[in-house]
Symmetry: C2
């Protein structure tokens, strides 16, 4: 558990991961006492965690009855890629208008680090910079709501991808991701919203396909 954070937050994070990784059956009942025993905590923080899970739509709480897991279907995951795509486009547009020079430099730095680690063969650190690159664009959009939602989408799609024993992103894929990031970076540096929207759209559509959710409705 992350030290310093309240138990409620730590329990929320753990349970969210369990649900997203499919470790709990759809419709399964979560009794508070069971979670208390598992983590050796009292019901107070567990209840707070449950409320957060409900707000995220991962469990359904029925008053006086209990909390039930609400799983994700493949279609839901495919949909989430589309929802993320629209907001990534929005974040890019606002970043073009609102980012500071310093923020642009941070983004460029994240790109270069990802390039470095990719060519070095360190796919874990390259992945970290991949995530970081996107998060810096969210930050540069200067909108907290959008940033919060996109951050959670990124986390969700990351867990889905790692789910089901699917291998980590392939070497060749990483080169493709890198190429797409370079196009996004160029568009930002040129403050070229038109091109940027096109490449961000392409990037997210590719990532949906890479994750195996291509053939659903697009």
């Amino acid at each position: 558990m992350m030290a310093g954070l309240p138990l409620a937050i730590n329990i929320f994070i753990k349970l969210r991961e369990d649900i997203l990784r499919g470790r709990m059956k759809n419709g399964e009942k979560l009794t508070e006492q069971r979670i208390c025993n598992e983590y050796n905590v009292s019901r107070t923080p567990v209840r707070e965690a449950f409320r957060l899970l409900e707000q995220e739509g991962l469990i359904e709480m029925i008053p006086n009855r209990g909390a039930f897991v609400t799983g994700f279907l493949p279609q839901d995951i495919a949909d989430m890629y589309d929802m993320r795509k629209e907001y990534e486009i929005l974040a890019f547009k606002w970043a073009v208008e609102r980012m500071t020079q310093e923020e642009l430099e941070e983004i460029r730095n994240a790109y270069e680090l990802m390039e470095f680690y990719t060519h070095k063969g360190d796919s874990v650190k390259a992945q970290d910079q991949n995530v970081h690159f996107h998060e810096l664009i969210y930050k540069a959009s200067h909108n907290k709501q959008l940033t919060r939602i996109l951050t959670s989408y990124q986390y969700y799609t990351k867990l889905f991808k790692e789910d089901g024993d699917i291998e980590m992103t392939e070497e060749e894929d990483m080169e493709e991701v890198l190429k797409e990031h370079s196009e996004i970076l160029e568009s930002l540096e040129d403050r070229d919203a038109k091109r940027g929207v096109a490449v961000v759209r392409k990037h997210l559509e590719s990532s949906k396909i890479r994750a195996g959710y291509g053939g659903f409705d697009d």
Copy 2:
């Protein structure tokens, strides 16, 4: 308070409204005890409500320090209209693909009721059907996440509009809204995604302008 629901949910709803209506200063500290005294409840449900407010980005909780109100700036509200617009478009697209005949009829029914109440001069009931019309489209998109987010956006923008002593939507505005809804309904009935996206976009841009957030960045 809504009977049947847990106190935590009722307190969350009340505090959310207080914050969105601007009844609390930006940065103001919310002590748990104060809320307990105000609503005559114990700290347990208050803390659960605080967690929900934090998740929505309406307060910031600093461990061992307390909860502080995070207000909305005009720019944030303008942004939210843009975020809502993109998801309304997505909901429309998915509704065109996924709605049942029964759902289409419910939507048509809501439109006709709004038309009836508007011409009868009952703007309150007309407003209710306005909201209902949109919510039925969310439902017809068959995506719970999207539905949940759009429902909350609708609530947010509604409170912002009612804020600051601004008059209820004008008579002439209601006619305009009605006209736009009829175009959305027609597009749904024809399952014409291309036209529908255009009219939904127009509808949301108009509503942003009607609410007074037109001149921010669009």
